[in-house]
Amino acid sequence: MTKAAIAPAGVALPAAEPILRAEPGPIRAFWTRLTARRTAMVGLVIVVALILMAVFADWIAPYDPIATDWGAIRTAPSWAHPFGTDEVGHDVLSRIVFGARASLGAGLTSVALAVALGLPFGLLAGYAGGVIDLLIMRLTDALLAIPFLILAIALAAFLGPSLTNAMVAIGLSATSTFVRLTRAQVQAVAAEEFVEAARAVGNPPWRIAIRHIVPNIVPAILVQATLTIAAAIIAEASLSFLGLGQQPPEPSWGSMLNVAKNFLEQAPWMAIWPGASIFLAVLAFNLLGDGLRDALDPRQRT
């Protein structure tokens, strides 16, 4: 009888009790799931490429983006100017490369602003409830009622049009989304039993919020942030297109489109490249966001 080999001895349960799955922790597992999704990886690669392009623009762009060349106005794509030139002789390729700074910068900065404002307020509203919740939600509703375009125009009118003001306008407009999302997530998580267990062990409210609630809402916020960056890029392009964002001669994909619309027949390349860039950037962030959502969602509760 080989009892000794298989029979668990007394209280030494570990011998008989297999740790069910020798799985990696949540972060490693999430990464595995994400990299398994091809579309998400495509998105991630493009996003990283665009970011690198924006950061190392000085080394990548062949020309100074604001250097004019009156001798080469509206020339079609050629070896000298792979993307062609615009109406004042700027090299379109260089402007695309440097324009990434405006677009991606606007996208990332405005969403960072929205999260920085929205998360704390949403946390407060969701966890504290009562009058505070009411107050914050009414303020958020008021903010939501202001169309971001009007906000941008107002800011432009008071402070002058600039990329920075555009980013602020976009950021403020997106804040209400994050307040609501955070609040909803906080309320959902706060109802979970482990939060009650945290209270039962003597956690003060601030510790519960930071240590127990926030780590569990990060996935949803991350997904929303990624998707909002895509929307912010379009918003910046729109504002620049209208002349409210990046001011010439600094390049921005949106302002490039603004100028290009007058030359659609003569120099279509002036519009094609910025348009394609916006499209690519937005697509990439959307794919990445979707992939994040899939990779993070079914993680809860195995």
Binding site: M1, K3, I6, P8, L13, A16, E17, P18, L20, R21
Partner: protein, 342 residues
């Protein structure tokens, strides 16, 4: 009992697996048994035993994918259910085979009146309509002892208590006079007093209608009161099966014994208390089902053979006829030795 009756259900070597990220989970591994007309079979097991899954698979109710039937046949009145197209299965489900699920809150459509939900199978399977269907629905509510049936027909599920909703589920299950009623943890979510009433009801219905019942539960007490035959499942296999009295009086599987011993004895006073017997360890990971007896790793009576070779379900030596066990070890001998040593 049951030997000379018609065999209603003949399960042969049924195997079901679910594809998941970590590999295929083999939920059911070679389950074979028969059910005679009018027989009540109690299937006992814990989570992961495959007790619910194999029945759902029989009726084509598991989602495929990720579920897969990897082998076996299920003959119901001679026809292999596994081979039938969905169209044919639908005719049987609710008609010849009635089903009662665990949670009456989610199994009943909150937006439909009770009458509409009872009439649905009547219309589908028996072609009843209008007044005839309604009359039959009222009869069914009377059958499951819901007072004031006529008035309550047009109420919605939320207007009934949990126990009453379960009765309605039973009424729906029985509506077309099925030959077989399957109840999957039908009383688990109910209060103990309500459970007692439902069990009493089912016993009465058995006498009145005489249908065969498969009652799936984890509660040995419920099975003791309801079943003619008991089947104990573990890790997708049947470890023991036999007439109810014999199983409780003379368990031959160490798992059955472990289950019985881990229940506190209600009749013993606190002076006579002994430590609850605990089965050490946990069920095996069904992504890698162990080659031999699945219970071997937790079985203090296991032999070396148990680890490598799966024991067949066979007549237990010296037990009542029809008492089958899947074990290489001799439990009565071990128990006798323990008794002698005391």
């Amino acid at each position: 009992m049951g030997q000379d009756r018609e065999i209603l259900l003949d399960v042969r070597d049924l195997a079901v697996a679910f594809d998941s990220e970590g590999g295929a989970v083999h939920a059911v591994n070679g389950v074979s048994y028969t059910l005679a007309e009018g027989e009540t079979l109690g299937i006992v097991g814990e989570s992961g035993s495959g007790k619910s899954v194999h029945v759902l698979a029989m009726l084509g109710l598991i989602p495929r994918p990720p579920g897969r039937i990897t082998g076996g046949q299920v003959l119901f009145q001679g026809r292999d259910l596994l081979g039938l197209p969905e169209r044919e299965l639908r005719k049987i489900r609710g008609g010849q085979i009635g089903f009662v699920f665990q949670d009456p809150m989610s199994s009943l459509n909150p937006g439909m009146t009770v009458a509409a939900q009872i009439i649905e199978p009547l219309r589908i399977h028996l072609g009843l309509d209008g007044r005839a269907a309604r009359a039959r629905a009222k009869d069914l509510l009377d059958l499951v002892r819901i007072p004031n049936a006529g008035a309550r027909l047009d109420q919605y599920p939320h207007e009934f208590s949990g126990g009453q909703r379960q009765r309605v589920m039973i009424a729906i299950g029985l509506s077309c006079r099925p030959k077989l009623l399957i109840a999957d943890e039908a009383t688990t979510a109910l209060d103990v007093t309500v459970q007692a009433e439902i069990i009493a009801l089912v016993q009465e219905l058995k006498r009145e209608i005489g249908m065969a019942i498969v009652w799936i539960t984890h509660d040995l007490g419920v099975v003791a009161g309801i079943a003619d035959t008991v089947q104990v499942m573990y890790a997708g296999r049947i470890l023991e099966r036999g007439p109810v009295d014999d199983i409780f009086r003379d368990p031959r599987s160490a798992y059955t014994l472990g289950l019985l011993r881990s229940l506190p004895d209600l009749s013993r006073g606190r002076a006579g208390r002994r430590r609850l017997h605990q089965i050490e360890g946990a069920p095996p990971d069904m992504r890698h089902p162990p080659p031999g007896d699945p219970f071997a790793a937790r079985n203090i009576y296991a032999t070396a053979r148990c680890l490598t070779e799966a024991p067949p379900l066979a007549q237990a030596p010296g037990a009542a006829p029809g008492h089958l066990v899947a074990a290489w070890y001799d439990l009565p001998a071990h128990l006798a030795a323990e008794e002698a040593a005391r």
